[in-house]
Symmetry: C2
Subunit: 152 residues, 2 copies
DNA sequence: TCCTATTTAGTAATAATTCGTATTTACACA
DNA sequence: TGTGTAAATACGAATTATTACTAAATAGGA
């Protein structure tokens, strides 16, 4: 993901993807993607803006935000973490994980010993020490499944 | 977690915990905890505010936010999801997971087939259908570990 | 070349969360 | 059972990330 060839390849396939999705492969979009594809540090919007600006001095922060969303919607990039609009809280102190409905936001607890005691893979040990595991299963709750079926 | 006795028990042990941590067991804090302990729906701050207000009409939204943070810091409740201040983006399209440093915010990718193909436990099937698994290992990165060791 | 989606710029709106400060309260101790 | 004091609260105002609006300019791509 770091070699120049790979990055160029990534941008090239992005252009193809644009054709497919019927969106334009603008300079701005290509440079934003290039920037993200060139780094492993999972930058935020401001950081992307600052860096892309070096090459496209007139780009606006607005465009960066808009583009990041467009790329995300087209599943060309992804967002790290939940980033729900509002924080949600939980008084359940037992070790557990969550099921989250991406339609209505329902959050359910579930328990799973295998996951609970899961040993971090060795490559993680190189990064640092782990002190907790956060797991979220994402999908559609029963009610929202039904709602969807009815609409179609 | 739903019976009145259990909730009362929870509030009582909260009062004890306050003594331990040297923080005050105020009406507001107790009612906020009681509210959270009474539900499984993982409410947000506004929702907690609206409900607690029925019993403590003068409580402020500010207090709810402040208290939720305090409870979280003292590990009496937890927050669902990452809720980083800013959104972070990732152009890595291969299936992978993240290691996150809670000190500096570093995010690293890692790969793990066992986790990748992990079958959702049956209790989750009752809630709905799963279409993705989000996993975050949280801890301290190498650099931050060293920084900590030096400070102590 | 031309049509249209997209960008820019610059301001303003939102919306969640936090801060400043005067006031009140829990609770340790007398 | 009072009381002094640090901790906590209420309330409005401030912050911060993100999105929206506009009109005018630009540039994909057929």
């Amino acid at each position: 993901m770091t070699s120049q060839v790979q990055i160029d390849q990534r941008v090239k396939s992005f252009i193809a993807a644009c054709r497919q999705h019927g969106i334009k492969a603008t300079q701005q979009r290509m440079e934003i993607l290039r920037e993200l594809a060139s780094t492993e540090e999972h930058p935020d919007a401001e950081t992307v803006f600052a860096r892309v600006r070096k090459r496209l001095p007139t780009i606006s922060l607005d465009t960066v935000y808009r583009t990041l969303r467009t790329l995300e919607e087209n599943e060309i990039i992804s967002r790290v973490g939940s980033m729900r609009e509002r924080a949600r809280f939980d008084a359940n102190t037992a070790p557990h994980h969550h099921f989250v409905c991406s339609d209505c936001g329902l959050i359910g607890d579930f328990y799973c010993d295998e996951l609970q005691g899961f040993p971090p893979p060795p490559e993680v040990a190189d990064m640092g020490s782990v002190d907790s595991v956060y797991i979220e299963l994402r999908g559609r709750c029963r009610a929202c499944q039904i709602k969807r079926d009815r609409t179609e």
